[in-house]
Amino acid sequence: MNFLDLIWLIPLFPLIGAIVMLLFGKWLDPQPPSEFAAAPGITPIAGGHGHHHDPRASTDAVIQSDAHAHGSHGHLAHRSPASKMLISVLCPGMVLLSFFFSGMAIIQLASLPEKVYEVVKFTWLAGLPFQTQTGQVAAFAADWGFLLDPLSSVMILVVTGVGFLIHAYSIGYMGHEGGYYRFFGYLNLFVFFMLMLVMANNYVLMFVGWEGVGLCSYLLIGFYFHKKSAADAGKKAFVVNRIGDAGFILGMLLMFSVLGTVRFLDVNRVLQSGAFHPEMQFGVLSAMALLLFIGATGKSAQVPLYVWLPDAMEGPTPVSALIHAATMVTAGVYMVARSHALFSLTPETSWIVTVVGAFTAIFAASIALVQNDIKRVLAYSTVSQLGYMFVAAGVGAYWVAIFHLYTHAFFKALLFLGSGSVIHALSGEQDMRKMGGLKDRVPITYRTMWIGSLAIAGIPGLAGFFSKDEILWQTWSAPMGSKAVYTIGLITAFMTAFYMWRLMYLTFYGPSRVEPEVASHIHESPSTMTTPLMVLAAGSVLAGWIGVPKLWVAFPEAMRAFERWLAPVFASEEAHAAAGHHADTTIEWLLMGLSVTVALCGIGLARYMFLRRPELAASISGPPGPLYRVLLNKWYVDEIYSYLFVDGLGKGGGRVFSRFDSQVVDGGVNGAGWLTRFTSRVSMWWDTWIIDGAVRLSSFLVKMSSYPFRILQTGSLQAYAFVFVAGVLVIFGYYLVR
């Protein structure tokens, strides 16, 4: 069977799962009405228009004020186990099927000489002709096409492999939750979009996956949508990501108009053909790369668009592990690596990538130092680790960025799932101040997380060591690297070891600070949850051994397979990045020793502060110093953004415009109406009093002037006789007097 021609099926399987769940899941998994439907104290009121209301709602509208997510066993008793089993098999099964097809296709890919395979199903976005920047007329088209090469193969293995483990874990974790089918439907939909993202053969189709995973992220963060905080977090994630997406869209448009294509292979070939030279100043390619990178900062939670990721922890923990640690948030790193031909021509933008990555790494790590919510520590840790990946990509070591992405997927997924297991054991408690001493109560969780924490801290032999050390070394030695960035990376490594082991000591060691009513329920998680933990722990130990440093000459070349596997993709960049590499092995050994020492110091300090002298930690957090407060409040960035953009630009601007609209614009219209009416009144007045007035005045004048004559002509004979007699008398009198 030729699995290479079937790679278009890989994303399709989870899509089928998602469609089945979202359309028919309701029948498979009948739900009692949500216990969170009504806010406290709200009872049905019949509408004022005689509508009947559903009597069921009033009886079932259980008032429950707080979202107590876990441990409420048994209240959803009447769910059919057989159909629930079907969901539990179908959805993870679809991802497993994708994993299988991916694996087989990659094996076949490995035997191809050029290690690139493209499958185009149909023309998707078949636009019309357009003029490129150079005046040529090109047809604008994006195919529904899939590209399998070493880079995407790493990604699909991570997505389907880790994705499957997290699906399996969710069977246990979400087993007691309402909306089981909905959860798995969204999760499968996510895997579909994520696979579209990493398998697309062009930028526009990649954008489909890019926005699609954003949608699933929105849906899953807001999974407990009765909670305002969850709905807020989902909305925030979507809108902040959209800011990045706007950059991505403009980047694609610029690419169209400059290169005339958005197909990855064409773009890279055109860029590498020699027609373009590295831009020593910020030019059109740098702008293109920067716009794409803006997209990456949104999706991969880099400064300044990182703010959504910590809030995204409102979602169920498996979601945090899959979407907000292992896969989706690495999409930006993947995109930059995919655009390596572009970024390697744009040193200006690459430098921006390095700086943003380094700043994000240390900035997020600083916040992680003091957070008390176990998932928030891990969230900031993820932001920080993504920063490392961008540093690697920025200095041109693309394969190292992907290597760290790959190892990080193991240990960070492990840490999140482990934290989920802890939260599960503690009936939903996430505050580490209310944990402690859990080591023996949840032994498997403890041991696996112990491995994960060592891995992320960079202890030799574990996955994180290999990738992080390679990043630090590349930052130091690569032509695009910098000693200052190296120093930031080293400090961040220290902070990473510290906050991770702070988390470990607060959670698992020392005296128990668990609330009494919770303490009695503590239990190790079921095997559906612990098995994925153990698999991921094994991965966190072993995954790094395919990227052994070149310095360790004793190891066979086969143990450097990762770099060699990706070499065909990044070949041209490797060529000029390799110059001046590995010149001095002494320095490299020294730096390696330094980073290990730093990691150990971090662990040691955490041990000292939180295990040996817990009162010291308490004294630090007791009367909070200004720095502590700033860190605890996450540098007040959320507040600043909220003030400037949400309330200021968004709602403020909206209100100003809205008033402008009703007063000025509509005022103009109404004014015109008023003016018309006014003019017509004036006209009417004019007409009545002036025009008609003149007419009437003239008639009045005539009438008035005729008055004397009129009174003479009374028609009365006596009056005439009187006037006649009077006249005769007057005339007589006149002659008499004269």
């Binding site: 009504a38 709200i42 009033s58 305002k228 959209r242 403009l250 070939r269």
Partner: protein
């Protein structure tokens, strides 16, 4: 059959209306059933247009021509190209959907109501089919009357204000348009000695630039009011808020497109010199961009659900006019596709408001909250409509917006940079609306007993949802249908557009690299 196809499509709703008048007013159910049958028939008879349309042919198809008022050269002339094909299909489908959605919404004077809806259909189809300017003008004015009554009789509390504002505002534009039409008419007589209103012949008129500009602005006012473009838009929120649901669906879905259609069908081809005047294009582009951002921001803070959707229309139509005046194939094709998309998405959004309005008789956003618990299917459909409107890929909105942005970017990168912010604000106001109405907990006891979608309501949404997915997943047929007329239009306005200009560096390099 083919030679009378357009007349059949045009007059089927009118025939339905005339027969409706014979049903006694007391027979409410019979009236409803008949209106729905007529609406469905109107849609079904329009389907052959799609099947028999030849997308490879240039010019108008199914042309019908008969003398009407020979003394002044007025003819009954109908014709269809790719652009009007899509708009006619949108009209017939939305017309049926609007009629179907009114089953429970309208209980008073049902006979008059459905008669107005059907009359409206004929008027709108006529606008999109007429190739004679006077015929077009007649239909353009005919459309006003039923909408005036729909708002004024079956509308909300301020219905009279809204109806009169709508009527007078549009009339003011029409008068100017009529002046423009007569200018073209007499110019044609001066130059060719023939009195005609056929646009296929008026296209030959060659006027001095200043005269073209005067005519252009006369047309512009008429069409800009109809679209509506900033700052001529304030009749729209009032009309929408007061109109019954079906009226809003038709108003937003079809009526506004008469304006954009006017630009495409008349302004650009008849007045090509004025249409490429840089200052004119700049002015219109700036107004469009203002509409995109301004409409979205105003939308964000509306306390009234329906008014929010109305202002979002201003924003979306800003994309459409921007695409048209990008004056390149992708801009114009994207604009037509976005007009269809807007009809689908905003039509759905208005139907969604209508459904809760029928149940609760309020449109205040703060009256709602947590409806997803009570009406999960409704929440699903709303989410779908929201995502379609927000331009999520694989749904219709993305195809239109992206293609327009492509055109805008080609014309002027600054335009695209500003317009793209519309997609951020679009997500913001829609998601916030969704959160306030659907998510959270039910805080108002009146909302606890609300019934979810009925089968009839599903039937209203399903065709629109299916269409949205089709455009999103496989938009190729739409581009194929639009390719000929749009390219022809661009060639007319910008002769030589399709000729290669400069020595294309990239093409040479691509040739070297052995690419297609």
């Amino acid at each position: 059959m083919n030679e009378y196809l357009l007349s059949i499509v045009l007059f089927t709703p009118l025939l339905g209306m005339i027969l409706l008048l014979f049903i006694p007013a007391a027979q409410t159910n019979l009236i409803r059933i008949w209106a729905n049958v007529a609406g469905l028939a109107g849609f079904l008879v329009s389907l052959p247009l799609a099947f028999r349309f030849d997308k490879t042919a240039e010019g108008f198809q199914f042309v019908e021509r008969a003398e009407w008022i020979p003394a002044i050269g007025v003819n009954y002339m109908l014709g269809l190209d790719g652009i009007s094909l899509l708009l006619v299909l949108l009209t017939t489908l939305l017309g049926f959907v609007a009629i179907l959605s009114s089953w429970n919404a309208v209980t008073e004077r049902t006979k008059g109501y459905y008669a107005m809806l059907l009359l409206q259909q004929t008027g709108m189809i006529g606008v999109f089919l007429a190739l004679d300017f006077i015929l077009f003008f007649v239909f353009w004015e005919v459309v006003l009357v039923p909408m005036y009554f729909l708002i004024g009789v079956w509308g909300g509390p301020r219905k009279l204000y809204a109806a009169i504002k709508f009527f007078l505002y549009t009339m003011a534009g029409s008068v100017l348009m009529l002046l423009g039409i007569f200018t073209l008419y007499f110019q044609h007589f001066h130059q060719f000695g023939v009195y005609t209103f056929e646009i296929t012949r008026l296209i030959n008129v060659n006027m001095p630039l200043h005269l073209e500009q005067w005519v252009f602005w006369a047309f512009f006012i008429a069409f800009a009011i109809k679209v509506p473009m900033f700052p001529f838009h304030t009749w729209l929120p009032d009309a929408h808020v007061e109109a019954p649901t079906a009226g809003s669906v038709i108003l937003a879905g079809v009526l506004l497109k008469m304006g954009t259609y006017g630009f495409i069908r008349f302004s650009l081809p008849l007045l090509p010199k004025a249409s490429i005047e840089p200052w004119i294009i700049q002015t219109i582009a700036v107004l469009s961009i203002i509409a995109i951002i301004y409409g979205a921001l105003v939308s964000l803070v509306q306390p009234d659900w329906k008014k929010l959707v109305a202002y979002s229309s201003v924003s979306h139509l800003g994309f459409c006019t921007l695409g048209i005046f990008a004056l390149n194939p992708n801009g114009i094709a994207g604009s037509v596709i976005q007009q269809i998309n807007h009809g689908i998405s905003t039509g759905m959004l208005f139907l969604i408001v209508g459904i809760v309005y029928e149940r609760r008789h309020t449109r205040e956003i703060k009256e709602y909250g947590g409806l997803a618990h009570v009406m999960p299917m409704y929440a699903f459909v709303f989410a779908f409509a929201m995502l379609s409107s927000a331009g999520l890929p694989l749904l219709n909105g993305f195809i239109g917006e992206f293609t327009i942005l492509q055109g805008a970017f080609e014309a002027n990168r600054t335009w695209a940079a500003f317009a793209v912010t519309g997609i951020i604000f679009g997500a913001a106001y829609l998601l916030w609306l969704y959160q306030r109405t659907m998510l959270g907990q039910v805080n108002n006891g009146r909302n606890l007993g609300l019934k979810d979608l009925s089968l009839r309501e599903w039937a209203v949404f399903l065709p629109l949802m299916a269409w949205a997915v089709w455009i999103g997943v496989y938009p190729k047929p739409y581009f194929e249908v639009l390719e000929k007329p749009v390219n022809q239009l661009v060639e007319r306005v910008r002769p030589g557009y399709f000729e290669e200009r400069a020595a294309p560096v990239v093409a040479i390099e691509r040739g070297k690299a052995g690419l297609k």
